[in-house]
């Protein structure tokens, strides 16, 4: 377990380094929201997801929807390091004719499973994907990573109602709860809290954890995945996180991951100006010295 955690933590740092490289090269993009999601994305792509970079269109693969599409550099970094395309291509982010669009586009980028970037849509798309997998009788899972600010979109709660109604256990929602959105804190801007109670009121099982504690992340994701791959009607349930009862039969799981916007680059942490901002040369060098890893060649 310790080796697994160390490996994934190293990968997360690499992905953060790739994000800074990509945004610095593009001179555009959203680094802060990538950093809060980096550990979750690393765990998914390098431990949990059943995917095959050699065959990105494999129909029965697991799916990952980055509903907070503005954080796509972290997704692109994960896809590149997982082997979907060369890491050097990350430098083409947001440039003319690049496969790496400003927000994710499924038909342009190998490995991107859904369009996103107009906030709030991942859970609905995921609901459709999960229903399709159930109908086709395959055990592929759908993971949807949402921001917390985007939970202000009404469609998220329409989808939350649907997923619970359909008793979908082959979908896992993850909230990157960094507490901030473009214009300030999620509570000041949108009145988001209380959050746990909202999900529970919509019929969801809520697992809260530290979104930068790799041990907690993989433990919860792995349990949710094992449960999701089993038939949803079996009713054999286990706790997703310690000291909490298991989800009820057919009850969908949302993981509220408490995160820090900008995590991993001290001058970005908690500074919301990094929601969308490009590092200066000095800031870039500092980030590179802190985030050890490979370059984009």
């Amino acid at each position: 377990m310790i080796e697994r955690i160390q490996r994934l933590t190293t990968i997360a740092t690499q992905l953060r380094r790739d994000v800074v490289n990509a945004v610095y090269a593009a001179k555009d993009g959203h680094p802060g929201p990538c950093m809060s999601a980096a550990d979750l994305v690393a765990a998914l792509y390098f431990d949990i997801l059943h995917v095959n970079p050699e065959n990105p269109d494999w129909m029965d693969r697991d799916r990952f929807i980055l509903s907070k599409g503005h954080a796509c550099p972290i997704l692109y970094a994960a896809l590149a390091r997982r082997g979907y395309f060369p890491p050097a291509e990350l430098k083409s982010l947001r440039t003319l004719d690049s496969r790496l669009q400003g927000h994710p586009v499924m038909k342009k980028t190998p490995g991107v499973d859904a369009n996103s970037g107009s906030l709030g849509h991942g859970l609905s798309q995921g609901c459709g994907l999960a229903l399709a997998a159930r109908r086709r009788g395959v055990d592929s899972l759908t993971f949807v990573l949402t921001g917390d600010g985007e939970l202000e979109e009404g469609i998220v709660w329409e989808a939350a109602m649907s997923v619970a109604k359909f008793k979908l256990t082959n979908i896992v929602a993850i909230v990157d709860n960094n507490g901030m959105q473009s214009g300030g804190t999620v509570n000041a801007v949108g009145g988001l809290y209380p959050l746990r109670e909202k999900w529970e009121a919509f019929g969801w099982y809520v697992a809260e954890l530290d979104g930068h504690d790799m041990g907690q992340i993989i433990t919860a994701l792995e349990k949710a995945a094992i449960r999701g791959r089993a038939s949803s009607e079996i009713g054999v349930e286990m706790p997703i996180i310690p000291r909490q009862p298991p989800p009820g039969p057919g009850q969908p799981i949302v993981i509220i991951a408490h995160t820090i916007k900008g995590k991993g680059v001290p001058y970005m942490e908690g500074d919301n100006s990094w929601h969308k901002r490009v590092p200066t040369d000095a800031e870039y060098q500092l980030a590179m010295s802190l985030l050890k890893g490979l370059d984009l060649e």
């Binding site: 586009v105 369009n115 609901c127 109908r135 086709r136 469609i155 329409e158 649907s162 109604k165």
Partner: protein, 318 residues
């Protein structure tokens, strides 16, 4: 001409026919099963109805997910709740990735919404969808064509919109009328004084107008344009050049729909005088369908007068 048959029922018959052959076909509902007359379908295919409740945006985005997952979802509800409330979901999550989602809008036009009033009369749907790339737009004229459109949509790759009516829809074509998406359908060619283009519920009025014009010694070509997008621009231009004048009629705002599409072809390829028949950019109201069409600029006399005036403009510089 007074015989009625529901376009909704016709559509559901077509959906049943394709669903029997292809188990990827699903019906997505936003509490619209009753309106869609889908009870028989739901009873026959209980596992193939995805009911999300009164939540059209969620329905559209869920349909996108279903399509990514290999299904062929038909999302059917009121035309405006699809094309306006779920407009962005269609644009970014269905049309942009060219997903195999079929959209079915009922109460198309002011006659389609009839007594419900403006909230349920949808005269903007075609104009809205025409500005979104990758969307095929079909406007069946009656129940028989609605049935065929439902079947045809399954084999048209990518997003397709099918516009339906109130469920009290006049029968235009007796028997098995051919329905070839993508091509104009010439209904009659009795001369080249003017061409009358139209679709949907207005087709019987166009045919009646052609008859009136005929009694005045004018030769009329009547053309059905059930596929508004991609428009058969070549076919339209050919007719325009042959006739040298045209009327384009539809139960839709005169802005953005079939009339605009025909004028775009004319402006670029066949500059002839054209008059548009449709709702003249104002809000209508409740009423019986025929009275509504008469009141809001789509009456037989409106079409005849527009045709005569347009023939009078032939050969003059506009």
């Amino acid at each position: 001409m007074n015989k009625q048959e529901s376009t909704r029922v016709g559509f559901m018959q077509g959906l049943d026919a394709v669903a029997e052959k292809d188990d990827r076909i699903l019906l997505v509902s936003a509490d619209s099963l009753k309106a869609m007359r889908a009870d028989l379908f739901a009873a026959k295919y209980p596992g193939r109805v995805i009911e999300v409740g009164i939540a059209e945006q969620n329905a559209a985005a869920t349909a996108a997910g279903l399509a990514i997952g290999g299904m062929i979802p038909y999302f059917a509800t009121y035309a405006g709740f699809i094309t306006m409330r779920a407009c962005e979901q269609i644009r970014t999550f269905i049309a942009y990735p060219e997903l195999n989602v079929k959209l079915v809008g009922i109460n198309g036009g002011i006659a389609g919404g009839e007594r419900e009033g403006v909230t349920h009369q949808f005269f903007e749907d075609i104009g809205i969808l025409r500005t979104i790339p990758n969307v095929t737009i079909l406007v069946p004229a009656d129940a028989g064509q609605a049935r065929q459109a439902a079947i045809a949509a399954a084999s048209i790759p990518g997003p397709v919109y099918i516009r339906l009516g109130s469920g009290r829809d006049p029968v235009v074509f007796e028997g098995n009328t051919p329905f070839n998406p993508g091509k104009i359908h010439i209904l009659q060619q009795k001369g080249r004084d003017i061409a009358l283009f139209g679709n949907g519920i207005l087709l019987p009025r166009l045919l009646a107008a052609a008859e009136v014009l005929g009694t005045r010694g004018l030769g009329v070509t009547v053309v059905e344009v059930h596929t508004v997008k991609p428009l058969d621009a070549e076919g339209v231009a050919l007719v325009l050049n042959e006739c040298g004048a045209a009327v384009a009629a539809e139960d839709h705002n005169i802005i953005g729909g079939l009339g605009s599409a025909i004028m775009e072809v004319a402006g670029e390829n066949a500059p002839v005088p054209i008059a548009r028949i449709g709702l003249r950019d104002r809000f209508p109201g409740s009423g019986p369908p025929d009275a509504l069409l008469d009141r809001y600029g789509m009456g037989l006399r409106d079409i005849v007068d527009a045709a005569v005036a347009t023939i009078g403009r032939k050969g003059r510089r506009a």
